[in-house]
Symmetry: C2
Subunit: 365 residues, 2 copies
């Protein structure tokens, strides 16, 4: 049997940290084993540190990143609630869809894709929304929005409005500071900057959100009231809810300890330096970056496909000849943009130079 | 760092097949990589073979076993629909809870725990239900119900009624024959007889269920209309829905190929022989089995805790001194029953003898 090995430089999954792979293959423990409970608690603690939060309800949800979005809306939105949602890419669009499923009256604030969220426009969209939601790092375009500024505005104006932030592509790559920013609900995915395989959605939920939470939401699997009894324990001890994905959690634990040992500042600097070199190199090659200057994520870069070049053919050649995966664009930009990720274990200068060299060869530049 | 290794003889997770662990740690592929799509298709094909179905909508859902139950009801139940649910253990109780969340009018048919489902009582519960649901292998008690008989009765009487079967603890351990039995919707978990870590819910959905499915169910993550476009493809090719848990799917693929190579008949015989020896051995030790004779699952055995014995202390000693995990009972039987699983890779005579010996030592019998 021949195993295929790839350098995963698309919008995720990225190649896991070696520590994460070792954690995945470690001897399996039961989900109620005292040794596993220690791992789970350490994982929740590690996530709190990365999120920058003291929220007791901070845990890895048992599904891929999208389940974090589902849990965020399922546990906060009641039919008829107004949800103001900033849309500047695919994941903003998806937030509108998911919020609607739970009966929200969605007030959608559309932006040009590739531009950051405009805080003033979001704040002006409705006088008293139940929920305001935005994407921190848009995976569809590689733009960073200023959640700190949005949080400051929301907290200055409303006491009860909850702020939801999609951090799928930011956590573990750039600074996230949930409590300092005034964010109530945030979720991420393991397969981007956290450097773990896809399968878990790190999640955090503030005390304000807990007080306003939906009792018995439609989706039993993501009912935080029930999940909390397993993760936090209660008067009767830990209550079994569903079998935790123990191997994935052990893998996330290993990655979090690695990030802690390297230091989140050093990890962020690694992402910054690699992304900067990639973006410089692409421009040196004569390519045009898609995302607004000053708002580009280092971990995910969108670049325009040059006129006359077959986007899919280039991606295919990179994969077939160099074993490098990069991503296509999304929606109307599907064939006019490439997305190149340098996330987690791949946030390194060698990976930046590798993809630049391979792209130069394939494009003949 | 010291890794803890356990022999997992509780109600799941079980120790994975070595092939499954190797699959988990193999180089990670992107979820749209042609090589991964081959693995996904092979996995769906392998699941069809094990389920005994030709259903095109057969796939591993991205969550643990419970997400299968959630998807089953989310995609079939509309508010006001009558759901007749056979309850003979915890997972029947949970089905009632989940169905209610989606607005079902639940007609609950209660049985004594440890007894199999009574087909006549279920059929007499309502003249024309939208859904009839039962658990094939009750994880809370270790009883097997005759889904073939229930399916024959449902199919003989109703054209449109959907039959849902919980196969979390049966698939990969005993015979399952979805199409022959007339089952419309079934789900399982990877961490029991399939011999894979927890994290995926194998799922199958008949053409009859597809015609009657709920369009845009409350839970976006489990919307089969959207999931189908990724797994089956469509006129526009495969549509991205959410990032598949690629490492877990590669692991399931490896386990399915191992089961195929050993042969499902041989795997079932291995479960039968190991379970029979365990049940004999427990009785030789003077212990009393909990579940009705003639309806005992080989892969999961419930045994009564002898009078005067501290159930938790025994489980603790088995874990601390022998590294063996067995399960407590559930609900009112929490401290009066133990559950011992011999599932997947653990369905072996050596594991049966090991747990018998260790239990004999700890009990001083």
């Amino acid at each position: 049997m021949v195993l295929t090995e790839r350098t995963l430089l698309g919008p995720g999954p990225s190649n896991p940290y070696p520590e994460a792979t070792a954690g995945l293959a470690a001897p399996l423990l039961g989900h109620l084993d005292p040794e596993f409970i220690k791992i789970l608690e350490r994982t929740c603690e590690g996530l709190r540190a990365l999120w920058g939060t003291a929220n007791p309800v901070t845990l890895p949800l048992s599904g891929t990143g999208s389940i974090g979005m589902e849990a965020a809306f399922a546990n906060t939105v009641r039919p008829g609630d107004v949800a103001v949602i900033a849309v500047n890419g695919l994941f903003g669009v998806r937030m509108c869809e998911v919020a609607s499923r739970y009966g929200a009256e969605v007030v959608r604030v559309d932006h040009t894709w590739g531009e950051p969220v405009d805080v003033e426009r979001v704040m002006a969209a409705h006088p008293a929304p139940a929920v305001v939601a935005a994407v921190h790092a848009e995976t569809s375009t590689g733009v960073r929005s200023d959640i700190a500024a949005l949080g400051a505005a929301v907290r200055a104006r409303w006491d009860d409005t909850l702020l939801l932030a999609d951090c799928v592509t930011s956590l573990g790559g750039i600074e996230v500071a949930i409590d300092a920013w005034g964010v109530d609900v945030a979720y991420s995915g393991t397969q981007k900057c956290l450097g773990v395989a896809p399968g878990l959605a790190p999640f955090t939920f503030s005390e304000r959100a807990w007080r306003r939470r939906v009792e018995a939401p439609p989706v039993w699997y993501l009912d935080l009231g029930l999940l909390g009894a397993y993760v936090r324990g209660g008067p009767g001890g830990r209550t079994y809810h569903h079998t935790a994905p123990v191997a994935m959690i052990a893998s996330l634990d290993a990655a979090l300890r690695r990030i802690e040992e390297e230091g989140m500042d050093a990890v962020a600097e690694r992402h910054r330096a690699a992304g900067l070199r990639l973006q410089e190199g692409l421009q040196e090659m004569g390519l045009e970056l898609f995302t607004a200057e000053g708002h580009r994520l280092p971990q995910l870069t969108s670049v325009r496909v040059p006129e006359g070049v077959d986007s899919a053919k280039v991606r295919h050649e990179l994969l077939a000849d160099y074993g490098i995966e990069i991503g296509a664009g999304v929606g109307e930009y599907a064939s006019s943009v490439w997305r190149i990720g340098l996330m987690g274990h791949n946030a390194r200068l060698d990976r930046a130079e590798l993809v630049l060299t391979a792209l130069r060869r394939v494009l003949g530049r």
